[in-house]
Symmetry: C2
DNA sequence: TTGAAAGCGCTACCAG
DNA sequence: CTGGTAGCGCTTTCAA
């Protein structure tokens, strides 16, 4: 009878082998099995080997859900970003994942499509799944209230590619101000004096613009005299933003793009208009994604250490798990100017338009 | 005394609110709280509202680990691939993730770096974390023994971008044979009669080559007379493979690449050698990644529905969770030829070399 | 060196 | 409509 019931259950859902099953087969207690499996050394080598052998035979797979419940620790971290398929995020994710797997952590991934409400929902879900820590790339919920809420969850978190002035908020980001400055400086040094801007309308994007402005101010030039068209960090939107720039009568000059994808979109617009790079337009991007050297015109850009940001972000998080009371780190990595043909310094020549 | 102990514990590790805490505050049983939270409707609207209000006030977050243990169901699926930062995989992952989040599933991600042993380890780890199902992109452990082992784990799984002849193995892939055929046909129709191959040495890559061969056989041509250099699906390795092709005296003709990244590498080699596309070499890739239209020479390629493969793979998996005994699906999606400038049909002209 | 008991937070089942 | 009891698989604690 009892056996029959069990059989029915077995058919409905396969019952994996448990520690108890092993204990029974091995003729020891569940405790000893647990000790053996976790190599806790409080039992004789003989019984240990015996237990391990049986575990192997039965192809035992520990139930990490039960273990997590008991230990209040999942060995899983949550990673939240807007779109894991975008170059920058995918490299960031790779950095995180590779470091995580080295230390036996798993990654629970959530995309937010740049929606703040989805970000908050994702955070709640992951916290309910009891991740040990949280990495949020380019977070949107960063106001005082958002941070308070995040802190109240009592889960260690680190921001990636985003700075924060708030106390107790750790982050790893690149120096966008410096990056913008470097880019603008380079454009200026090509001899170009007419500029256009296709920035991203985000905190990072604005910081980059600030960097541009800072440089120009040093030359006693106001950035206000130049046309600006904001863009989402996507090819399609960069394409449209560049069209608007053209429509405003901007027919030649140097264009400072918020990221490489925007630069690709701008490049498309420029060629469609039968204008050329670097003759009519010089173009600079941001990120230095893999394809920058292989584009129709190799793209000058500001490289940020995307992969490295992931790696260091993960370490920050793990470090906090180990030492909850260690000081908070705010890490800013240096960007680097990479000059390619899209800002070639060849002397200005005959110009169309 | 007892209180003191608790305080110490509270400092060491924050104890989240539980259903029991809510029950106590609300003056009801844990059962009722559970029923209220899960909207199981076996209690009066009044008490329900009362409970929900308290849950809200205390900012209760359900412990999904406990729930998972109890229900033997995690609402999490595992996704395994070699490198989530590679274009094809990142788009695949996006497709999976977006579908998953729609249905309240989370993604546990693992990269394998193309190593079979890491793939097997990843599978074991995810199964131990009690994922409800598994999606494996371009799996390596696909021999009879591997499949038997996978099946013995009793976790539903679906292969992505990989076919399998074995019974009970579901997959979603594109028709690589057809893709290779289409590509070869196109190259042939440009009038070119000299061919070179830079295939990927993988099952998919070989299928694509088979497709090429099939077409050539129809023209009574043996593929054996043309040079072949295998490559990993990476820019750097494509670059080297193309160098080997040049070194073998292949100075002009049409090159069939195993994927777009290889084509990018080949393109680099070709330009470094001061040769040109499509004059000296015609080039065709596979995948149609985002940047194909914006490369130094816009790349002709075979488009595979990468994102869609992720979407359909997820649905297959979910479908099996709902109906474990439904028939097994083997889904093959059609690829599509996308013609761009790298195989431009302009008449053959003066040739270097 | 080994084992028994208790409990992590939740829900299924049954009784009232 | 409501609550008590038991148990998911594991580990911690204490006792033998």
């Amino acid at each position: 009878m009892d056996k029959n019931e069990k059989d029915v259950f077995m058919k409905a859902r396969i019952k994996p082998i448990t520690i108890k099953d092993l204990a029974e087969k091995a003729g020891v207690s569940a405790m000893s099995v647990s000790n053996a499996l976790n190599n806790r050394g409080r039992l004789s080598e003989g019984t240990k080997r015996h237990i391990m052998k049986i575990a192997q035979e039965l192809n035992y797979m520990p139930n990490l859900v039960a273990k997590s419940l008991r230990k209040a620790q999942t060995r899983t971290i949550g990673v939240i970003m807007s779109d894991s398929s975008q170059y920058v995020f995918s490299k960031l994710l790779l950095g995180i994942e590779q470091e995580a797997s080295k230390t036996g952590y798993s990654i629970l991934l959530a995309n937010t499509d740049q929606k703040k409400d989805l970000e908050i929902k994702a955070i709640d879900l992951l916290v309910s799944k009891r991740i040990d820590g949280l990495l949020i790339a380019a977070p949107l919920a960063v106001g005082e209230g958002d941070i308070e809420r995040l802190k109240s969850l009592k889960v260690p978190f680190v921001f990636l590619m985003r700075t924060s002035e708030f106390e107790g908020v750790e982050f790893v980001a690149n120096d966008n101000l410096q990056g913008g400055y470097l880019g603008m400086k380079h454009l200026y040094e090509t001899g170009e004096r007419n500029f256009g801007f296709l920035p991203i309308d985000s905190p990072s994007g604005r910081k980059r613009m600030e960097g541009c402005e800072k440089f120009l101010l040093g030359k006693n030039v106001s950035i206000k005299k130049y046309p600006i068209e904001s863009s989402l960090p996507q090819i399609g939107d960069g394409y449209l933003a560049m069209k608007r720039l053209l429509a405003r009568g901007f027919r030649n000059g140097a264009i400072c793009c918020g990221c490489d994808l925007i630069a690709v979109g701008a490049l498309k617009t420029i060629f469609e208009a039968n204008l050329s790079i670097p003759e009519d337009f010089r173009l600079i991007g941001y990120d230095d994604f893999d394809m920058a050297p292989y584009l129709r015109v190799p793209l000058t850009t500001i490289r940020q250490p995307t992969y490295q940001i992931g790696v260091e972000g993960f370490h920050l998080l793990i470090n906090r798990l180990d030492q909850p009371d260690s000081p908070y780190h705010k890490i800013i990595l240096e960007p680097e100017l990479i000059v390619r043909n899209s800002t070639n310094k060849k002397p200005l020549q005959e110009r169309h338009g």
